[in-house]
Amino acid sequence: MPDATDRRILRQLLADPDASNSALADRAGVTTASLWRRVERMRAAGVISAIRSRIDWRALGWEVEVSLRFTLDKTNPRALDEFIAAAREVPEVTEIQTFLGSVDLRLSVIARDMAHWQQVYRDRILTLPHVSDSDALMLVSTIKDSAELTL
């Protein structure tokens, strides 16, 4: 279990994941060596499950991002597993979430432009199995995107 010092470090790390170890150590009030040791321990314990680089797809010329929400035909007990397995095979899918609510599942899908989006949608999305209903939210802009927790 993370102790109070671990939480202080996590709070700083989540607020500013690009800060250097020495800056984070300063803000958390620990030495750099202790910060490194504690971060490594939290990674080993799975409290920190990953530190990933974000890829900015817009910088690569992929201009379109769509949030697709699906309701599945739940009369088939394998519907969810089979849908997810098929969605993983679509290279343009960057996120898959499952839900308890009026929506069963959500995909983030990216495309180069609207013509490409139309092609991905027709060839790869409409062919996904067990869909009973879906709707699309087209991303205009991301105003906030943070992993911060009120630790």
Binding site: D56, W62, T94, S102
Partner: protein, 157 residues
């Protein structure tokens, strides 16, 4: 940025998995020198393709057992400015993500709470009191996976 070659793509794949990999480690695993790897990583950073780090934590282990995705429709478009709504919603600490979208909703939000009653408090006190808020739809997240995206589709472009 265009003109990424297969080495750049391999670097992106490795860093998207683990951003703490050193240039030496990356160079070794794709068969180029440390300084060549370092130069490429710097170039990917400068062009904005590598857009910083994402720290993924086990929210449940830290006492945050509930993540909810909200769709929000503004009630009185034209009367409430988007800027006012956006300023107020981004100031809520439990709101991790705010996206302006087109479709059935105007905004989508990601909220992390300790439990369902904590979420209810956030919903009642923070979300329902936002300027211009109309229809709200909530879906409690059960599982999540992030995929590296179409890195393969960039090869040879």
């Amino acid at each position: 940025m265009s003109g990424l070659d297969s080495i750049d793509l391999a670097i992106l794949r490795l860093l998207a998995e683990d951003a703490t990999r050193s240039a030496a480690e990356i160079g070794r695993s794709i068969g180029i020198g440390q300084s060549a790897a370092w130069r490429r990583i710097r170039k990917l950073g400068e062009s904005g393709v590598l857009a910083g780090r994402r720290v993924v934590v086990d929210n449940a282990a830290l006492g945050f057992g509930v993540t909810v995705f909200l769709g929000i429709r503004l009630a009185a478009k034209g009367r409430v400015s988007l800027e006012d709504f956006e300023r107020a919603v981004t100031a809520i600490p439990e709101v991790q993500t705010v996206q302006h979208v087109l479709g059935q909703f105007d905004y989508r939000l990601r909220i992390t709470a300790r439990d369902i009653s904590d979420f209810e408090r956030i919903l009642r006190r923070r979300i329902m009191t936002l300027p211009g808020v109309g229809q709200v739809e909530a879906n409690v997240m059960l599982s999540e996976e992030r995929l590296p995206g179409p890195l393969g589709a960039l090869a040879g472009r």
